[in-house]
Each structure stands twice: as structure tokens, then as C-alpha cells.
């Protein structure tokens, strides 16, 4: 087989792997997409318990206004049929504080947020306005988010950067406002103290406009991807993990699967958790320095999760998300010794796919911070086979979470808990070695891996590479494909979708 007939292999069938497979197919590559779980898109597919449907990995996204970045990427990928629906325009995020009578209700739109918050915090109105304008400017300054600019070389430019905490703490003394302006760090799982402000702006900025969710949940987006992959002749292989990458002096030449199949490869894009890559490569393929760096990257926040059902509507999570802050400030949530009792909690209810869907089928999820270290003694156990001691510990944790949550949110007292998750559950379902929800941290304290590697035909993509979340994962796929097919060629094709 010559390299011309060999396919291009993509490891990992998440958002980034599926998006990259579609882009490469569009540029004429024959692509094999390999996912270790039984179905593609396990992170966002969700699941059901006793007839109630739950979303994992996708609760809400921004940037879906008609000329928004995600709209354009999805249109390029042929995913324009996904039934996105608006969250409530007057309040897409509700923020509750234990010591404040009224909830904060964030509306969609930069100017609407500025007006609303300036009304509540009149003394801080100048800072509020400058904060959101800075966010918008930094967001627009990225060629990947604002297509008018150029795709710039996506390097970890060596420059001194300010943290989100630094910007917010300098701007206001008000502890409630500080919390409100940094609450979205929970959407990427890194403390404001170590998040570069520019990174925050590029995630939070996407939620200023086009804030939507998928009616019917993440599995609808997953099946839209599946249809498009089939139409594009991408070969998908699910249910068997890549266990080794085969390599010779010229670069990667194929991959070995768990079921012992060998798939030849002209090039390889790796999209799973970065710490998995060195374990798949033969000795000598990468320098010890690179391997050590990938293995020592810190993970984003982990969680305890309650999966619940409720027969009736609950107005505080109707078309919006709810954040519950038990303490003002959120830095504590990211510390290794964070306590369940200190919150914050994030609550989201699935938007049904049509009006006749009974309310009890729309699952409600409550997240609280968690740390896998607390579960160290059961680290060797697997989902479904965990020892009794773990189950008792987990049950206590879940009961405690529910008790504290209901104390602050009594309108939820009719919910029924159907299942629960711990950082170990996240680890096993998300393929995240330390149970992190959003891959490895994009932090002032560490260098995120880049799309290109020293192996000429091996690239990396995924939420840990450029930016987190659905939008970040999609962008990472486009950047990596830009390295593979040529950045300018790709950008020219993307511009045609505007």
C-alpha cells in the first residue's frame, strides 16, 4: 500500500474528532475515525434512566446567532439542520446567592447585560461596561471567532498575561459582582486566579450572543454529525480503542486497535486526553521532555452530579441555567480541598424536543465540585464493579448534596434522584484520567499542547489544545486541519460560508 492509498486516521469520536473528520473528507482525504466507546460522541450523547433523559457534555452554547462563529463552523460542516433553540432572552443564567434575597438574572446580549447589572450595581457601572467591552474586543480579536480577521498561528505566545481574578478584583470591591463576573469560569473548569483573561474572554464572550441549546439534547447533535459523516464517506470504527501507534523513521504509519486490527495511516490526528498520547507511542518516538509534559498537565475541575426527574415545571430552571453560590467568590471551588458543602452548584434542565414530551422525561442535573483524590482508595475500580464501601461513601455524598441544595432551593423539593455521579464516574465515562470535565487546564501556569508535534504527520486537537467546550473543540479541529491542509486554503473555504 503506498501512502497515497492510506487513509488519514482520527483518534477519538468526540466533537473535535468528528468535526476534523468532516473537514478532512471535504478536502478529499479518505478518513477513518476511531472511537473506543460503542457509539460516537459519548461525551455529549447523554443517557436515560427510568424513562428520563439526561444531557451530559452539552447544556448550552453561545455564538449561534446568524453570523456567529459556531453557526458558521456548523454550516461549513453541513450541520445546519440541528434544531437549536434559544434560551430565555431575559435570563439565560440565573445566579442565586445564599445571602441575597433576589436572584441575579443575566439576559442575552452585551448591552442588555451591561444595563441590567448597572441597575443592580450602580456604583460599579463604569467597570461593568468596560469589563464587557474588553470581553467583546478580546473575543473579536481572534481570527477563529471573528472571520474578518486572519487565522493566526495558534501558538502559546510568550507574553505576560493578566488573570481573570486580577481584572475583576482590580475593577470592583463588591463580592457579589466579583462572583457574577467570574461565574462562567465554571464553564471551563479553571480558577479565575489562573485563567488568562484573554482565555476567559474567548469562552465567556461566546455567551454574549446566540445562546442556545439543542432541543432534544446532545444526542440530536450527535446524530446530525453521524449522518454527515456517512454522507462524506468517513469510515467510523466504534467499540475498540487504539492501543498503539505504529511509527517508523518517516512518521506514523498506522494504529493498532484493542481487537488487534491494524489500520494503516498516512497521517494521524489525536483528539483524546493529551496524557493518553505518550502511552500509545513507541519508545523514542517523542522526546522524554514532551512525554513528561503531556503526562504532567493538570486537569480541569471535576464534579459530583445528581441526575433527577420532576413531574412539573420549575420556573427557576425554565429555559435557563441556575448557579447557586453558597459563599460569595468561587475560587474555593477550584482548590484541591474544595468541600461539597461550600458549592457552588450548577443546575440545568433539558429542553424537550417537542411540546408533547412529558415533563418527567426532561432530566434535571445538579453539579457540585468534586476532587478525585477523595476517591483515591477506589481508583482501581471500574463503573458497575465498585466495592460496597465506595457505594456507601457515594450515597452519603449524594444525600449531603441534595440536603444542602434543597436548603437553598426549596422549590425543587419534589425532584426524585434517579442516579448520581462522582469524579470516578466522570473518569470512566469521559476518558479523563483525573475526572476533569473539560480536559486539561488552559492556565497561566501551564502550556497547553499545540496542534503540531515533532512527528511530521501527527497532530493534536480537542478541548485541551486550543480552547474548551463545544466551540473550543470545534475550533481546535479547524486549527489542526489548517496545519494539515494549509491554513489559507481552509480559511478561504470557510469564508465561502459567510
Amino acid at each position: 500500500m503506498t501512502s497515497a492509498d492510506k487513509p488519514f486516521v482520527v483518534i477519538g469520536g468526540g466533537i473535535s474528532g468528528m468535526a476534523a473528520a468532516l473537514v478532512l473528507a471535504k478536502f478529499g482525504f479518505s478518513v477513518v475515525l476511531i472511537e473506543k466507546r460503542k457509539q460516537l460522541a459519548p461525551t455529549i450523547r447523554g443517557f436515560s434512566r427510568q424513562g428520563t433523559n439526561f444531557d451530559t457534555g452539552l447544556h448550552y452554547v453561545g455564538g449561534l446567532q446568524p453570523d456567529g462563529p459556531l453557526t458558521r463552523y456548523f454550516s461549513f460542516l453541513g450541520l445546519s439542520d440541528v434544531p437549536f433553540t434559544n434560551l430565555c432572552q431575559n435570563c439565560f443564567d440565573r445566579i442565586r446567592f445564599a445571602d441575597r434575597a433576589e436572584d441575579i438574572q443575566l439576559p442575552v446580549g452585551r448591552d442588555a447585560i451591561i444595563d441590567y447589572l448597572s441597575g443592580i450595581f450602580p456604583d460599579d457601572r463604569h467597570f461593568i461596561s468596560s469589563y464587557y467591552h474588553q470581553i467583546q474586543n478580546l473575543f473579536d480579536s481572534s481570527g477563529f471567532l471573528n472571520f474578518k480577521g486572519n487565522f493566526r498561528d495558534a501558538t502559546n505566545a510568550a507574553c505576560k498575561q493578566e488573570s481573570l481574578a486580577c481584572v475583576v478584583d482590580k475593577g470592583t470591591q463588591n463580592p457579589i459582582l466579583r462572583t457574577v463576573l467570574s461565574i462562567h469560569s465554571l464553564l471551563y473548569g479553571v480558577s479565575p486566579e489562573e485563567t488568562p483573561f484573554i482565555q476567559h474572554a474567548r469562552v465567556a464572550g461566546s455567551y454574549l450572543e446566540g445562546v442556545k441549546t439543542v432541543a432534544g439534547g446532545g444526542k440530536i447533535l450527535a446524530s446530525s454529525f453521524e449522518n454527515q459523516l456517512a454522507k462524506s464517506d468517513v469510515t467510523c470504527s466504534c467499540g475498540s480503542a487504539v492501543t498503539a501507534i505504529s511509527y517508523d523513521h518517516a512518521g506514523v504509519n498506522g494504529v493498532v486497535l484493542e481487537d488487534e486490527r491494524f489500520v494503516p495511516a498516512a497521517g494521524l490526528l489525536f483528539t483524546a486526553h493529551p496524557s493518553i498520547l505518550p502511552k500509545l507511542l513507541p519508545d523514542g518516538a517523542i522526546k522524554p521532555a514532551f512525554s513528561r509534559r503531556l503526562l504532567s498537565l493538570e486537569d480541569t475541575i471535576s464534579s459530583h452530579t445528581l441526575f433527577c426527574s420532576c413531574d412539573s415545571e420549575i420556573p427557576s430552571v425554565q429555559g435557563n441555567n441556575l448557579f447557586v453560590c453558597l459563599k460569595t467568590g468561587i475560587y474555593h471551588a477550584f482548590r484541591p480541598d474544595c468541600r461539597l458543602d461550600d458549592g457552588p452548584f450548577y443546575v440545568s434542565r433539558r429542553v424537550p424536543d417537542n411540546l408533547v414530551t412529558p415533563m418527567n422525561q426532561s432530566g434535571l442535573i445538579i453539579f457540585a465540585p468534586g476532587n478525585i483524590r477523595e476517591y483515591g482508595e477506589w481508583a482501581d475500580s471500574k463503573t458497575g464493579q465498585r466495592p460496597e464501601a465506595y457505594r456507601i461513601f457515594k450515597r452519603r455524598r449524594m444525600e449531603r448534596l441534595l440536603e444542602i441544595f434543597l436548603r437553598h432551593c426549596p422549590e425543587f423539593k419534589k425532584i426524585r434522584v434517579l442516579d448520581g455521579g462522582t469524579p470516578l464516574t466522570n473518569r470512566d465515562y469521559l476518558g479523563a484520567p483525573l475526572g476533569g470535565l473539560y480536559g486539561t487546564k488552559h492556565s497561566l501556569n501551564q502550556f497547553s499542547p499545540l496542534p503540531a508535534t515533532k512527528i511530521p504527520n501527527l497532530w493534536m486537537a480537542g478541548q485541551s489544545i486550543i480552547a474548551p467546550g463545544i466551540l473550543g473543540a470545534v475550533i481546535s479541529a479547524f486549527v489542526a486541519c489548517g496545519f494539515i491542509v494549509g491554513m489559507e486554503k481552509l480559511q478561504a473555504e470557510l469564508r465561502k460560508c459567510i
Partner: protein
């Protein structure tokens, strides 16, 4: 740690982590041309030095002007002096 010990420690760590021949390493050695380290390796080099010396270097703009192993010593010694001043 004396300056000489610091230089020795940096060489050993870099040689090990980038599989280099320590006998070929001296202050004039150019990272790019002689050792074949490119911009992708620079980030790994920072992490190696951070781990070897237990200091935080992070995304320091001064790193962009590091060209030779001599520049690397200079950079680390400066860091060390800056740290000693703080302590």
C-alpha cells in the same frame, strides 16, 4: 547552589530529556542549529527547567531571546537572583 552547579544541572536535565550528547554541550552551542531544538521544543525546555530547579518560569517574554545554551544559563541565573532578592 553555585553558578557552576546550576549550569551542570541544566545540562544534565536537558541532555536527558532531549536525548542530547552532554559532551557536545557548551555555552556557544546554538539550540536551534546545533541541537535541533525548534519552537515546539522551547515549551518543553521551559517545563524541563522548571522541574529541574523547582522554579516557575511560565510564559516569560524574555525567553524569546534565548538562542544558545549560554543564554539559557544567563536566563536561569537571572531568575535565581530575582528569587533570592525576594526571599
Amino acid at each position: 547552589m553555585t553558578d557552576q552547579e546550576i549550569v551542570q544541572k541544566a545540562y544534565t536535565a536537558l541532555a536527558q530529556e532531549f536525548e542530547l550528547d552532554i559532551s557536545q554541550m557548551n555555552p556557544e552551542t546554538r539550540l536551534r542549529e546545533d541541537l535541533g531544538l525548534d519552537s515546539l521544543d522551547y515549551v518543553d525546555m521551559v517545563v524541563v527547567l522548571e522541574q529541574a530547579f523547582g522554579v516557575k518560569i511560565g510564559k516569560d517574554p524574555e525567553l524569546t531571546s534565548v538562542r544558545t545554551l549560554g543564554d539559557v544559563h544567563e536566563f536561569i541565573l537571572n531568575k535565581k537572583r530575582a528569587l533570592e532578592k525576594i526571599q
